[in-house]
């Protein structure tokens, strides 16, 4: 996503032309990117080598270091989408529309990662890829819900309709999160043994706890970095379309 020449960051709220910028990176994102990269390296070292196996979970706690942050990042993403949806319906600015859509894409990505490493954990611990335990089930339902959001954005329509419809779906979907949680927890929580999926295990000590928090910080940083790039990409795409519109207007007038 980066090219050779350093370029000014695209100010997200400006409505002006972005003639010179052909890259979505900036000094800010490069610094953040390096920090995240360093964090990931540190995480691998701590997660795989330094932190000890857990008393209850054994080596599988290492998957937890990734699992909790991915689901947390996904929830952050959907909260961002919900807020952006509300702001779009209020203010009708392109910024909120693109922010909501970019965030939702990342949310779906992180949900997919969560489900995937949840299944990995399950295979190791239970011997099967799937068990109907609350967190995994809820995540899958929400994953499908937001896939619907992405599907809506793919349908060809004019920009304003797409923005309005996406914003409405964003709000309706986020409201369903606590309700689904409650329903699934009541339902599965009665039968299943409580698994460690969920919050950071309070019994973690020392290096384990440190690694868990490090993972959370690193993944949230990764999410922010991805969000900035994805947003700028969407922004530049819209600017390119705008320029296409000016050409189209000129051609249209020439019909006369």
């Amino acid at each position: 996503m980066t090219i050779q020449q350093p370029v000014e960051p695209v100010p997200p709220t400006s409505g002006g032309r972005v003639a010179a910028s052909t890259s979505t990176s900036s000094r800010g994102t490069r610094i953040l990117g390096f920090a995240v990269l360093a964090g990931l390296v540190a995480l691998v070292i701590f997660g795989v080598f330094i932190s000890p196996p857990d008393a209850e979970l054994g080596e599988t706690i290492r998957i937890l270091y990734m699992h909790v942050p991915t689901v947390s990042a996904a929830y952050v993403a959907f909260v961002v989408t919900a807020i952006a949806s509300g702001m779009y319906l209020w203010r009708r600015s392109e910024f909120w529309d693109l922010l909501g859509a970019s965030s939702a894409e990342l949310g779906v990505l992180f949900f997919a990662l969560t489900i995937f490493n949840g299944m990995m954990w399950g295979k190791i611990t239970w011997g099967v890829f799937w068990r109907w335990e609350p967190r995994l089930t809820t995540t899958t339902v929400l994953f499908l819900t937001y896939l619907g959001y992405l599907a809506v954005r793919q349908v060809p329509s004019n920009v304003r309709t797409r923005g309005t419809v996406s914003a409405v779906i964003g709000i309706l979907a986020v409201v369903n999160i606590p309700i689904t949680h409650k329903a699934v927890d009541w339902w599965r929580g009665l039968h299943q043994e409580k698994t460690i999926f969920g919050t950071v295990d309070p019994d973690m000590r020392g290096t384990q706890l440190f690694t868990a928090y490090l993972a959370l910080v690193v993944f949230l940083g990764l999410f922010v970095w991805l969000l900035i790039h994805r947003f700028r990409l969407a922004w530049l795409t819209e600017r390119a379309e705008d320029r296409g519109l000016d050409t189209a207007i000129a051609e249209r007038r020439a019909e006369a």
């Binding site: 329509s157 379309e241 249209r252």
Partner: protein, 233 residues
């Protein structure tokens, strides 16, 4: 004396999908005027009328209809205009009577207004109980017109009002337009039937390539050289 124009467009650009159907329209229409919108197919006449009805947004420029900014409050505009389009705006499976009853009550008009409008448009009683689906095109057009007329809109936006009607129907349309203006409404209509339309209209504007390319007033309009003739389109 009213000085606010009923329709006031400045450099209005309207986009359908990504296509700029209106590429910068400037237009003023005063209260009580009858304005004919002419132009070749694809010029943007339908979009212009729909935009004035508040159904198509503009992406740049300004549009004020009946004193209301169409971008800021489209709903306030919509309930005061009447649109006759290419679609019937009727529920095909409901009868003529049921359609009129629904649309008049939705607009806050009385059922009697609906019946009176049907009579005015020459829709015979025996047809009132038939489903719209089983009517001929011309009859459906009359019913659509009646549904619009019954609401007594302040601004009439008619997309080819004479199309699909027989001779008596066209006469009715002309007299309806005259009566509406006499009662204080304003009429903007698009038509390809230039002879007839220019008799009715106070003035005409020509739309081409998404912009207003010319304007003419009075019955002499047909004598002016048509700037569109021979151009691509």
């Amino acid at each position: 004396m009213e000085t606010t124009p009923v329709v006031r467009l400045r450099d209005a650009v309207a986009v359908v999908g990504r296509f700029p159907a209106l590429a910068g329209v400037d237009l003023d229409v005063d209260a009580g005027e009858i304005v004919l919108v002419r132009g070749p197919n694809g010029a943007g006449k339908t979009t212009l009328l729909r935009m004035c009805a508040g159904l198509v947004p503009i992406v740049s420029g300004s549009a004020e209809v009946l004193g209301v900014d169409v971008v800021a409050s489209p709903a306030a505009v919509r309930r005061r205009v009447g649109l006759l389009g290419h679609a019937t705006f009727l529920y095909a499976d409901l009868t003529v009577e049921e359609n009129l009853a629904f649309w008049t009550r939705a607009a806050g008009a009385r059922r009697a207004d609906g019946r009176a409008a049907l009579d005015r448009l020459g829709v015979p009683e025996r047809v009132h109980g038939l489903a719209v689906r089983s009517l001929s095109t011309g009859q459906r057009r009359r019913v659509s017109f009646a549904a619009m007329v019954a609401r007594r809109p302040e601004l009439w936006l008619l997309d080819e009002p004479h199309a699909g009607l027989d001779a008596s129907g066209r006469d009715i349309v002309d007299s309806l337009i005259g009566d509406a203006v006499a009662a204080g409404a304003t009429v903007m209509f698009a038509s390809h039937e230039l002879d007839r339309a220019e008799d009715v209209a106070h003035r005409s504007v020509t739309l081409a390539g998404g912009v207003i390319a010319g304007t003419a007033t009075g019955p002499d309009a047909s004598d002016r050289p048509d700037p569109i003739e021979g151009a691509a389109g």
